[in-house]
Amino acid sequence: MEGFLANVGLGLATAFSPVSLLFCFIGVTVGMGVGVLPGIGPLAAISLALPLTYYVDPTSALIMLAGIFYGAQYGGSTASILLNLPGTATSAVTCLDGYPMAQKGQAALALFVTAINSFAGCSFAILLVMGFAPAIAEAALAFGSAEYFSVMVLGLVAASTLSVGSPLKGLAMVVFGLALGLCGTDVNTGYFRYTFGILELSDGLSLIAVAMGLFGVAEILANIGTGAAPALAPRDLSFRAMLPTRAEWKQIWAPTARGAVIGSFIGALPGTGPGIASFMAYAFEKRIAKDPSRFGKGALEGISAPEAANNASVQAAFIPTLSLGIPGDAVMAVLMGAMMLHGIIPGPSFIAEQPAMFWGLVMSFWVGNLVLLVLNIPLIGLWVRLLAIPYRLLYPAILVFICIGVYSASNNVFDIWVVLVFGLIGYGMRQFHYPAAPVLLGFILGPLLEEHFRRALLLSRGNLAVFAERPISAVFLALTLGLLALSFSPMIRRRFRRARAAAGED
């Protein structure tokens, strides 16, 4: 305990040094900015900022880059709620209920709630990082490909009722997403699949491009010409008006807590990320809701859970990176690169050897999140006023941002074509009421499912029983079966009752 307090003290001393404070502030502000701008995400921003970190000391560099990463998660929901355009690929889920809230004139409330959710999700995950980072990282190592596969199956099944409207259309769109995920290099054989000789497709379609096309460009296309009324700008923008009522507080705290737990779990598993976390948290809330039909029409739970989850997951993603040197995603890999640029190679002894850096970074998370919270709430009024900008000015600007963002993620002009094509596809889907969120879900989960399924079989020498024999995997599969049984039980019971009634008539 004493050691822990000494470490926290050391961390606070580092995080509160003027230089650290400055870089933390720069990081989170930039992060929030790129989060708000549709298309430009944390990966592009961090990659661009990487060369600049040459000239500052490694702790400050890390604090700033980390701030961009989690700051973007705060900003990402803003455009989702106000314009139905996800600010980052991972905040697409927030469109589902956030935009309907804005349409009802509750934009300020939605933005306020997501700021609180984000802070709560982050706080939970930071506490985990402080208390248990090494232990969690070790536990995550018990997850091999069999376990990953089972978790993904659970996620896919849980999220299969993600959208409102026709379940068949929803399912079809999941399958469409899975099919899109097939494009690229087959990890197991190295063959190019569905790349049509286009080298740029060899790493698959870019998630950012697909998400921005299906959600962003499609939204813009759909509104052009229809003269659609923008979301209602709330008349009253006073602080009191955006504060949730007591009943609303009651409604959001449990989903936020569950979202934070799900997000932290997913975040601590390398190779997953905030997108999956928010999808799973949303799906879980909808599953356990008393009245799932409210989802998709502006349910507070529908923004609380995924926003808490994606923020928790980005904070938890630091666990495997810092305590084992295993970066969970592309953003973490760049962060690790920034450390290596300074001769610090994160590995199992990083926390012990660089306590000032580790604890300084972790305590800077608190500083950064507080800054974000404080920055966010007064800005709500400003964001909401964005709605007053006529679409004919706003939309071209957004299209430009989307193109810049998609290009800068990998310096690839091809991705701009991808975004445009998916914009057209998304527009077509809208016209015929096919939901876009399940496409994204299938697209994110599909490649992971396939990769882990095949690797698990490769490692078990083709023994399918491996999924049931490994205890953690078996638990997740059992949960999946339970979930399936739960969703079919009303139908079965109804049939059973009908059969009995029929038998009684005889």
């Binding site: 290099t185 054989t189 970066p327």
Partner: protein, 335 residues
């Protein structure tokens, strides 16, 4: 790596360079590229991988060091995809004027061409090497709790249990993959290759005990070796490595003549004028003797090569030949 040693005002220099690049892009290019006066505008080094990896770090170090003698900013640009082929192809198609260079690696500039028939470029024909900059051995590592304590253990086990011993790699066609295949061929054993999407995921499974072994990057694995999480059984180079003086080479451990390294070099598009190549060779090799860079290399296990353009081309031809034989013998060809 100390970070305070760079020339003051360089950041401003980069920004000014970017502005200049934007400005020159609007003007018609002045005259044919010639060595005198080269470079007249910023030089770009394309890294065919995402930022943050070891090739990226190396490129950024070199860019930093050659910028001053060239008198122009040197900008690193990441163009990732297809195991390096996207970035390599981009450079191969660029104007051969020395302003667009590639930080090429074993995969992009040797293995890919023998593994795939459908690559749009040919390493020997489409590139003019500036210099093969560094090389590094791979390390055969197992989990510290593994029962295998020597290369002989691994060979004995794999001979008795064909198709059982698993080794991971960051993907098909990486030097880690092919070194494992070479090991299998030379020892007459059948190992199971488990490809991952990147070295982090493979390392995760090795640490978690899901995988038996990996021919890993020295840079990536050294922290785990010194931290007691992985055991190094052998290095793949012909000689022992100063970072791991007690670890035998694979050849010493009983696989006679075994030698394989991964390498990185600076390449220009084929057709780049010789004076320009010579100028670039001069500044790149001068950078390799810089104290900061020497320390950087030593800390990360890179062995300085600094070969001449001709020697580099010769070396790469030999590499293509060597890996081509492994690809053929192991039946790895795709498409």
């Amino acid at each position: 790596m100390r970070h305070d040693k760079f020339a003051p005002g360089t950041r401003r220099g980069v920004l000014a360079g970017l502005a200049l690049a934007a400005a020159t892009a609007l003007l018609p290019l002045a005259g044919p590229a010639a060595a005198q006066g080269f470079p007249e505008r910023p030089v770009t080094i394309v890294v065919p991988f995402p930022p943050g990896g070891s090739t990226d770090l190396l490129a950024r170090q070199i860019a930093e060091k050659i910028s001053a003698p060239l008198g122009q900013p040197v900008v690193v640009e990441n163009r990732a995809g297809a195991g390096g082929a996207v970035g390599a192809n981009y450079v191969a198609r660029s104007d051969p004027d020395g302003y667009t260079l590639l930080m090429g690696v074993t995969g992009s500039n040797a293995i890919s061409s023998v593994l795939r028939d459908d690559l749009p470029y040919e390493p020997l024909k489409d590139f003019a090497p500036v210099s093969l900059v560094v090389s590094a051995p791979l390390v055969l590592v197992v989990n510290a709790e593994s029962e295998f304590t020597s290369v002989a253990d691994v060979i004995a086990f794999a001979q008795e249990n064909p198709q059982t011993f698993t080794h991971g790699s960051p993907g098909i066609g990486t030097s880690m993959h092919l070194t494992g295949e070479l090991f299998g061929l030379e020892t007459g054993t059948e190992l199971v290759h488990v490809p991952y999407a990147g070295s982090a995921a493979a390392m995760q499974d090795l640490l978690g005990g899901q995988l038996d072994a990996m021919f890993a990057d020295l840079l990536v694995s050294s922290e785990y070796i010194s931290g007691g999480r992985l055991r190094a059984l052998a290095v793949t180079s012909a000689a022992r490595h100063p970072m791991l003086p007690d670890v035998p080479t694979v050849a010493e451990a009983g696989v006679e003549g075994f030698a394989a390294t991964s390498w990185q070099g600076v390449f220009a598009p084929a057709g780049t004028p010789e004076p320009v190549l010579d100028r670039l060779y001069e500044v790149v090799t001068a950078a390799l003797t810089d104290d900061d860079l020497k320390a950087f290399f030593a800390e990360r296990g890179f062995m300085v090569e600094g070969r001449t353009p001709a020697a580099s081309q010769e070396f790469i031809a030999a590499e293509i030949d060597k890996w081509g034989k492994v690809v053929d013998a192991a039946g790895l060809k795709t498409n």
